[in-house]
Assembly symmetry: C2
Homo-oligomer: 322 residues x 2
């Protein structure tokens, strides 16, 4: 019987815990008794542990009582986890227990606990889009990929925020016992088996609004105010009265991206907002955001978000009248 343990702490996100647990528990309905997953929740504290939504849950054991290994050890996340102080005893336990375990991983920003334990160095890792930049800065040895729903690197499995723990668990289940059981569980829980596109489509618009008056920031403001017009290095250079070559050099130095990349990302951000909030036809959205046509907008969306503009609208548009 494969063993699965999930580590929780005060302030844990309830969905990070119940998502994976419900996946493996529902799988047991479709599996012969000897293949049933044995699920256990390990707490960093004894007694009731309050989740971030206020619900108290009870761990089955204090983590320090678990001196064995597990087939799978998952660390849950929580809104405050990235700012919690290091707990050397817990980190030591994590190092020991992952050594004794088959697979291990994290849901959401549970990656920070594994990172503090040094267990993510030199490995490909994903986490909640909101915490990905912080993880990369705090732990420069980790290869953070902020655009994945989940990611496997050897025996390490990390997932994006919150409900992405369900996607990761379905993937682990599919590898363990085959796609049919995994699909049956997905249908019982009413979740899609595979999501379209990466995590970037969930993140908010990243276009930086810079208040300064450097040439780069003046050019950025200009781009944001003239999205529907023709924009390129030449006309931006004219706006800031520099040579195109010098302007491009300064822009890259100050913003870490090229002017063309900034223009495209600003257009995508504007299009996302229109797709979410309006019912304008794709052609008009493309035109208003400065894409040549709907087809070019489609291509840029697929490249940057992994979904077409039409799929993006279907995923994120407001509710129609029920």
């Amino acid at each position: 019987m494969p063993t699965v343990a999930i580590l929780v702490f005060p302030g844990v996100q309830a969905l990070d815990v119940s998502g994976p647990m419900d996946v493996f528990a529902e799988a047991n309905r479709f599996l012969p008794r000897e293949q049933h997953y044995q699920l256990e929740v390990l707490g960093t504290k004894r007694g009731p542990i309050p989740c971030s939504n206020g619900l108290p849950i009870m761990a089955h054991r204090h983590y320090s009582e678990a001196t064995e290994g597990f087939d799978l050890l998952l660390v849950a996340g929580g809104p405050e986890l990235p700012r919690m102080p290091r707990d050397e005893k817990l980190l030591g336990w994590l190092r020991d227990t992952t050594t004794r375990s088959g697979k291990f991983g994290s849901i959401c920003n549970g990656a920070f606990l594994l990172a503090h334990a040094g267990l993510l160095d030199d490995r490909q890792v994903t986490t909640h889009w909101n915490d990905a930049p912080g993880l990369a800065v705090m732990f420069p040895k980790i290869k953070v990929d902020a655009d994945r729903i989940f990611l496997q690197d050897g025996n390490l499995y990390t997932s994006a925020g919150v409900t992405a723990g369900i996607d990761l668990s379905l993937y682990l289940l599919s590898n363990d016992v085959g796609p049919e059981v995994s699909l049956n569980v997905a249908k019982r829980l009413i979740v899609f088996m595979q999501r379209r596109g990466g995590q970037s489509q969930f993140s908010p618009y990243l276009t930086p609004y810079v208040a300064e008056t450097s040439p780069a920031s003046i050019a950025q403001q200009y781009v944001l105010a003239h999205l529907a017009e023709e924009l390129n290095v030449e006309n931006l250079a004219t706006v800031v009265a520099m040579s195109p070559r010098n302007f491009a050099r300064v822009f890259v130095r100050d913003t870490k991206i090229t002017p063309a990349d900034f223009i495209e990302s600003a257009r995508v951000d504007a299009a996302r907002a229109l797709l979410e909030a309006s019912s304008d036809p794709l052609k008009r959205v493309a035109y208003r955001c400065g894409f040549s046509n709907a087809n070019q907008m489609r291509q840029v969306f697929v490249k940057r978000l992994g979904v077409t503009a039409m799929q993006y609208r279907a995923n994120f548009a407001g509710f129609q009248k029920a």
Copy 2:
């Protein structure tokens, strides 16, 4: 401050509880203090309440202590709920409390508790696809719609299985405070704002396999064995040596659907299986299942499942190599 209460019981599905709670708790990050949702879990039992996945949770109060009303009262579901004995005290409390409350509703098969209390009579209701036929049979006065992710009928809100509680909560949130907060919460939890298609796409193949030798069942077996061929009332009548008119009459009497409806549903079921398990081109799937062409298959999928065959494959195909 709007009040939200969720009723839980031993064997409750953990995701039915944490989904809605996390939606409203995350919304509080985006709302001014005076608009914060006040969340409370009410238990049918004191002390730790084990979820169906084995996790013990603690209700904030026993339901009988809640003598006030709520802005929203939700009843969670659980795998065993449809088979649990009636609890007249609880049902009386439900009747009283919904009268004192603004909106009320259910997640998953939590609808059975509301139904036992008589609160769903003559109303449009949805529930988990697996429990929808049972609800309709046990409570003939309820108008069960088994193809919805969630459904509003006046101040009553019901949702499909498990994670559909998240969709319903996002919808309630959107109505309360607008689509922007709802979209922000969806992005934090990594869930799509609107799912495509209805609940039918999650249910397993419903094609009945009848072992009997009635004309209807012989015709059904024939259909399943000759999906790729031309099928109609005339050739099925020949198979069972009846006149087309008499065969159609007997088939409808015994199966409650027309031969044409059965043929189409058998073709859709076969196509779903191929789309999930194979990477055959749509054209070949259509041909093997007896559709005239990929475009006709597309139309039938949209009519029956609310999504195209291509979208269905994207949602339910097995994991590609990571």
